[in-house]
């Protein structure tokens, strides 16, 4: 069975964790341990934790009762106007009331939860105030796990979804811890994060995903977002892209022959590719065969841009591919047509004079005699001898205009006119770049010339006569042997 090419998202190293607000942080500005001998109760300053409608923070005037410049030096302090930004769903008074109700229901003695049960480690001295410590919460709630490794159902106990945590900034979100599951091999596949994202108990998406992520984050990679219920179950939130995600090609794409054979992967169900690829990414190469891309979704609203595909030649388009592509193109034209339009072939095989020349190297005109005499490739495939070669040769005087040999162009061989037979049989295509039949018939005619027989090795007179006797009559007249 072929490797399943499913999810190919490589999420960045920083992924979901638990909110840790970095905004206005009183813990960072007020040295709690230094004041531990002054305050017997947290509620002295944070009255709101015990009574609704009270202030969360002390007024500056209250601090000034000591920090008056005489008893203690003055301090600059302004109470925060809002609670510290967080994605916690925690309400102190409601939590206290629930604990008391639970105790009452269990017939236990009423014992309101103390602040240090969440804000300090068990061994910490008084007023070692910290941000809520998840393990302390887990201890009461019976969760046996590390914080960001908590089971899916646990997250929503304390946290709201990311879109609901409206006061978190992008920096806050980017600083979320990454759960260990996100670093496991295979997490980027459908069997990895795809399976984890499926909600349980009738929900479309796992609560653990929704704690740190929103739909926009998924759109970083997922072209098929509208078709994924889990993604649609997430609310949109542009801040969620603060967690960096980067598409990474799956291992199957690294195969040497992937470029040649990926069609076989696609064929059964193009949807498999549509997770990361848009129709446009196919068309980067398959511009000439857009039908292959119809199984995929076109980039648009609600879809991610997907993998950005760069068109490049397969490795077997080697340095001499231009000269040697004919065989493969002749055997498998449809393979070529996957990426190349017919018009591209015709750019060379029927050259577009309005476009810059592409096949021959710079200065080829001056070295074309060497290429033409012993044809490395057939000039006639692209150039008509009469319309191209002869026309140009004629304009510069390189055509026969008198009795053969009279002008003695081939002057490096003084007797060339008498001994040109070998050169002619080897390079006849080159000869007719300057000569026409009449030049040759002066000698090689059975009726009016010197009757030199031009027929050489392999000449099949009967066959040629049967195919086209008119050719024979050019030399033999009506008396064809």
């Amino acid at each position: 069975m072929r490797p399943v090419v499913v999810a190919v998202v490589a999420l960045g190293l920083t992924l979901p964790g638990i909110a840790r607000a970095q905004g206005q942080d009183s813990l960072a500005t007020f040295d709690h341990p230094r004041h531990r001998k002054l305050f017997p109760s947290c509620a002295t300053c944070h009255a709101a934790v015990e009574q609704a409608g009270q202030s969360w923070f002390p007024e500056a005037a209250e601090c000034a009762t000591c920090h008056d410049g005489t008893i203690q030096k003055r301090v600059t302090y302004q109470p925060p106007r809002e609670p510290t930004p967080s994605n916690l769903r925690y309400d102190h008074l409601r939590h206290r009331d629930r604990v008391l109700a639970t105790q009452a229901a269990a017939g236990q003695e009423a014992k309101p939860p103390a602040c240090e049960e969440c804000h300090s480690e068990a061994a910490d001295p008084w007023m070692t105030a910290k941000r809520p410590i998840p393990t302390r919460c887990f201890a009461c709630h019976g969760i046996q796990a590390q914080h960001v490794a908590a089971p899916d159902t646990a997250c929503a106990t304390c946290h709201v979804t990311l879109p609901e945590a409206t006061r978190l900034t992008r920096a806050d979100i980017a600083a979320f811890d990454t759960p260990p599951s996100h670093r496991e091999k295979g997490f980027l596949t459908a069997a990895g994060h795809g399976a984890l994202a499926r909600g349980s108990g009738g929900t479309a998406v796992a609560a653990s995903c929704a704690t740190c992520h929103a739909r926009d984050f998924c759109l970083t990679c997922h072209v098929d977002a509208p078709e994924q219920p889990a993604i649609q179950a997430l609310a949109p939130d542009p801040r969620s892209t603060a967690i960096a995600a980067q598409l990474k090609a799956p291992a199957s794409h690294e195969r040497d022959d992937f470029l040649d054979r990926h069609g076989e992967d696609v064929a059964p169900d193009g949807k498999r590719c549509s997770t990361c690829h848009t129709r446009e990414s196919c068309l980067a190469c398959h511009a000439s065969s857009p039908r292959v891309a119809t199984a995929l979704y076109s980039y648009g609203a609600g879809r991610g841009p997907g993998a950005v595909v760069t068109r490049h030649a397969p490795v077997w388009h080697a340095a001499d591919f231009t000269e040697r592509h004919a065989g493969r193109a002749a055997a498998a034209p449809n393979s070529c047509a996957g990426c190349h339009a017919r018009s591209e072939c015709l750019e060379c095989h029927r050259p577009n004079p309005a476009s810059a020349p592409g096949y021959h190297p710079v200065g080829f005109l001056s070295r074309h005699p060497a290429a033409a005499y012993a044809r490395e490739s057939s000039c006639n495939d692209c150039h008509n001898t009469g319309g191209f070669c002869v026309t140009c040769h004629a304009s510069v005087g390189l055509t026969s205009r008198a009795t053969l040999g009279a002008n003695h162009y081939h002057d490096a061989q003084p007797s060339f006119a008498l001994g040109h037979g070998q050169a002619a049989r080897q390079s006849l295509e080159t000869c007719i770049g300057c000569h026409v039949e009449k030049d040759c018939l002066l000698c090689h005619s059975a009726v009016g010339g010197r009757r030199f027989n031009p027929h050489g090795p392999g000449f099949d007179a009967q066959r040629l006569k049967s195919k086209n006797p008119q050719m024979c009559s050019a030399c033999h007249g009506t008396n064809i042997p």
Binding site: D256, D257, R261, R279, A287, W316, A319, F321, T322, R328, A330, A331, A332, C345, H349, P353, A354, S355, A356, G358, P361, G363, A370, A372, Y373, R375, S378, N380, D381, G386, V390, A394, G397, L398, R401, H408, Y409, D411, F416, G419, G421, Q422, A423, R425, Q426, L428, V436, E437, K438, C440, H444, P454, P457, G458, F459, D460, N468, Q470, M471, C475
Partner: protein, 496 residues
């Protein structure tokens, strides 16, 4: 037929416009300014000749003359007049689809060319208007049918004709068959063989356009591609064959990275084995190599007499190796040695080579915006040889590309006293003004020194200027930006 296709296309357009027709139009325009000089045959009375530079007869002005015993005049070549060509050529390639019938499309590709200079004819500019393709096509997964002016390709070469073409496919089993028939165009041309523009020296030509027909069959699997072709051309005036050829080609992929291929064609009309080759290739990301053998034998249409002169094939063995030792460096090298079959003629007075070899070594460095390419080639064989260096440097920004190139090589001829030395320098600037509009300007200076013992060494030195504009217009979901410009050096087609 051609007019019919055009009429059908034009008749379809108005209705199609209302049916949300998609279109794509590519316009290319290029103008060059070239000046060059050829040869002019001349003669002088025998009595006016002097002893020439090689000891033989010559003119007083230093040209070696050729005198035939008993003739009153001797002949010689003097440099011809300076010719100035200013070819202005445009090509428009229009594709249309969305006529309300899924799979129905049309294409017309035509060119317009003229020479604004004083040269007699710049190749390809007569007639001024030429239709490359103009057809209506209907395509489904299993069927493709096309009618009009079109060009088909196979191992038997590219063939233009006005007629019909159909392909049926069984994609599930990898089978495909196609057939075509129509009135043919001449080889390597957009004109019929009857066109006087293809016959400047008054060759023998058919009185009517040839009738062409062919069939191809292919079978592809995951490890092989096979294809066979048959094509014939008939002169309808006399119902004789102009050509009849067949071919077969196979490509096998036995192992990952390894490809074997072989193919051949046969000239059925002449009863000759044509060209053929067999090769094995290895291609990996860092190294690739090919080794093989091949033969090349030309074929000629039977409206000419050339097949009666029994052209002989040559056989070669060749090898190619390329590699990318580091990401920024690509190296290449290839070699081919060939020898002609015995010609079975006695030419005691003339000594002509019957074998030769070709090679090329080179490398390309790509660093940031720079691409540097250099190569040395050699081509030694019968008739003419050349060897020398080509180099180029390109600097590419997002929308600009500047390329400088230089070449220098020797180019001796075997049959004429002209051991030319040649070099050139050029500069090319290209800008992509928008994703659909590209312009370029270029200049190149060519210097050639034809070394002869007399004054007949003509000077082909010249300055070429060119300007080009390419524009793409269209309306389609898959409308893409312009493809990269094709340039052999640097980058070239391999970079596409």
């Amino acid at each position: 037929m051609n007019r019919f296709a055009l009429a059908l296309l034009l008749a379809t357009v108005p209705d199609a416009a209302a049916a949300q027709v998609g279109y794509r139009l590519r316009l290319d325009a290029r103008v060059q300014a070239v000046s060059y000089r050829g040869l002019t045959p001349d003669s002088i009375p025998v009595t006016d000749t002097v002893t020439g530079p090689g000891g033989g007869p010559g003119t007083a002005s230093g040209y070696a003359a050729y005198c035939v015993a008993g003739e009153a005049y001797c002949s010689f070549y003097r440099p011809g007049p300076e010719l100035r060509a200013v070819p202005l050529e445009t090509e428009a390639d229009l594709s249309l689809w969305g006529f309300g019938v899924p799979g129905l499309s049309a294409r017309i590709d035509a060119r317009l060319g003229t020479d604004l200079g004083n040269a007699t004819t710049w190749p390809g500019t007569e007639p001024a208007v030429q239709l490359k393709e103009g057809y209506v096509e209907y395509a489904r997964d299993w069927l493709l049918a096309r009618g009009g002016r079109q060009i088909v390709s196979s191992r038997l070469g590219y063939l233009g004709f006005d007629g019909g073409y159909a392909v049926v496919r069984d994609s599930r089993h990898g089978l495909e068959a196609d057939g075509y028939a129509g009135w043919g165009l001449a080889r390597g041309s957009l004109l019929p063989v009857t066109s006087p523009d293809l016959n400047p020296l008054d060759e023998f030509r058919p009185a009517e356009r040839t009738v062409v027909a062919g069939v191809d069959g292919g079978w592809s699997g995951s490890r092989f591609d096979l294809r066979a072709n048959y094509r014939r051309e008939v002169d309808p005036t006399v119902s004789y064959f102009v050509s009849e050829r067949a071919a077969a080609q196979a490509v096998v992929y036995p192992l990952n990275r390894v490809t074997l291929q072989a193919g051949s064609d046969w000239d059925l009309a002449a009863g000759e084995w044509g060209s053929a080759e067999a090769s094995a290739s290895y291609a990996a990301p860092r190294v690739n190599a090919t080794a093989g053998v091949r033969r090349y034998r030309p074929y000629f249409d039977l409206w000419s007499i050339w097949m009666a002169f029994s052209p002989v094939p040559y056989h070669t063995w060749f090898g190619q190796v390329g590699g990318r030792p580091v990401q920024w460096l690509e190296l290449r090298g290839r070699y081919e040695r060939y020898a002609f079959d015995p010609t079975e003629v006695s030419t005691a007075l003339v000594n002509v080579k019957n074998d030769g070899w070709r090679y090329e070594v080179g490398g390309t460095i790509t660093r940031a915006a720079w691409t540097l390419d250099a190569g040395w080639h050699g081509d030694f064989g019968p008739g003419a040889s050349s060897s020398g260096l080509s180099a180029s440097a390109s600097y590419a920004l997002s929308r600009w590309r500047l390329t400088a190139f230089a070449t220098g090589f020797d180019r001796p001829l075997e049959l004429r006293y002209e051991d030319a030395k040649f070099w050139s320098l050029g500069l090319d600037a290209q800008t992509e003004i928008s994703p659909t509009l590209r312009c370029s300007l270029g200049a190149a200076y060519y210097k050639e020194d034809r070394q002869r013992p007399d004054a007949g060494g003509v000077d082909w030195s010249q300055l070429r200027l060119n300007a080009q504009v390419t524009l793409v217009l269209g309306r389609a979901a898959d409308m893409l930006r312009l493809p990269k410009a094709v340039r052999r050096q640097p980058g070239g087609r391999a970079a596409r």
